[in-house]
Amino acid sequence: MPSEGGVCVLAEQRGGQLQEVSLELVSEGRKLADKLGEQLSAVVVGSDIAELAQPLIHLGADKVWLLDSPLLATYCPEFYTDALAHLIETNRPTIVLSGDTAIGQDLAPRLAARLKTGLVTECTALSLDQEGLVVLTKPSYGGKASSTVVCPKARPQMATVKPRIMDTGTPDPSLTAEVVKLTPECSGELKTKVVDFIKADPKTISLSEAESIVAGGGGTGSTENWRLIEELAEALGASVAASRVAVDARWAGSDRQVGQTGKTVNPKLYIACGISGAIQHTMGMKDAKMIIAINKDRNAPIFKLADVSIVGDLMEIVPAIIQRLRELTKSSQDSQGVA
């Protein structure tokens, strides 16, 4: 069946797990395809991935391509680009969507360059104009502006979309669709080779790269209490940071200091424990996506920045959080053990 046109989602799997953003894009792609009156397809690249078709179909994909080969088990830029470029050239979708993840940011520009087409990265909104062109919105100028971009002539129109912008729809288990399994050749000599993987250790990585941070301040009170901050960080897989007061008290090293005379950070999660929120500290962390503040003083300025504010004693609240986290980790491990 020739399937020219249509919306195609590059669904990303890692270790046999579909990435959340791929499910969001299938749901969003379904809406676009319906408005255009076209087909929605999804592609998964990997090895032994037959079972990954189902969730995509239940979210509305009309067709799922599985590019299945042992050589594609983990992300290999050259083979992935070859295989996907071939599939796209053969089936000519008008729109190709990918998640803006570490892999998507590497793969999509390679594909667009190979296909000699336009790509808009880091999109935060998609819509269609009267002619059915995709209008893409993305942040620009360091987040101080928002640009609206189209790809008028070249096809496909490609975009990478930020995770967690779109909603994942409700899966409908009654939906069925065609699943086509292909085995790409993956021939040719690789010019780049992955030789090692270095897992980040939250304890040592630079704070500017940390995804979650637990920060302690003067309110922590003592070296013994500082251990609680470290325990909470460990339970969250987060890095420890400190305010100037805590660094001066030698509870943490100066490389852990956040603020005017320390580092500027932008993690997804920042838990400020016993930090009052003086401007010298907050200018280093105000761009964190989610700020949780725990402080004794209800009038502490940190609460003006916080997404969630907790007034209370650190020594009571932090241990309770750690305990709750451990319960949750244990129950999720148990349930995975059963499955």
Partner: protein, 292 residues
Amino acid sequence: MNIVVCIKQVPDTDGPVSIDTSTKSIDDRYLAYVVNPYDEIAVEEAVQLKESCGSGQVTVVSMGDSSAEKALRSCLAVGADRAVLLCDPAFSGPDSYISGAILAKAISFLDYDLILCGVRAIDTNAGQVGAVVAELLGIPLVSAVAKIEVSTDCRRVTVQRKLERGDREVVEAELPALLTIELGHKPRYPSLPSRLAAQRKGIDYYDAAALGLLPDEVGSAGSKTTVLSVSPPKPKARKLFAPDSSLSPAERMRLLMSGGIQEKEGNFLEGAPREVASKLVDFLNSERLLPL
């Protein structure tokens, strides 16, 4: 080792960026221009690699109008040997693809073992030019590089790539190759004599004809994408707890009607420590912020 670095002169986004709402574009009257910070790191890496290799040349290439000379000269001041400016009225209004295509064409006339680009420019935030240059030159590409080591025979590089959550991937590539640089050594501060020397150096200009490009292949005419408008960013929507069923209907309505956007202040979680802790953890879990 001969290294080519692609650089871009961009507005300094640390300064104020104002948007002209009538033309729906950036108001460029008051902008300060700088070398794209990622490109600055790439230049520093190139100069250090050249210094450790002991031979070769670092060439910086940029596309832009003659004002981009300033950016090229600041690269010469920190150790680049030669500067090339791709300058033609026909080049104006390019997208990532056509910028990459013009740079690739120009670089094909140069002698190179390694090409470095910043991973992205801070104005467009596209992150595509490196991929286009590598594809059109048919050389291997490694993106988001954080550390470079060159083999002793200068035939291969071993690099660390930046992945999510601070993880790194170690990749080997044959030269010639293109690396897009995300992290690296801190750019050096140029000395006054080197700045003065950079002012006196010549910059090689190439226009479309010199590169053998037709006017309709370049600039906005050759671009794949078109920017329709630039506008101020939308205020960030803020996630709220699901309205608590113990609240009054009026209060719940108010929370829903606010559309999730409100002043941050005042979202207090109260209660006994255990209760607060479990509410918080459940909320973080629902926001997928826990490593489960």
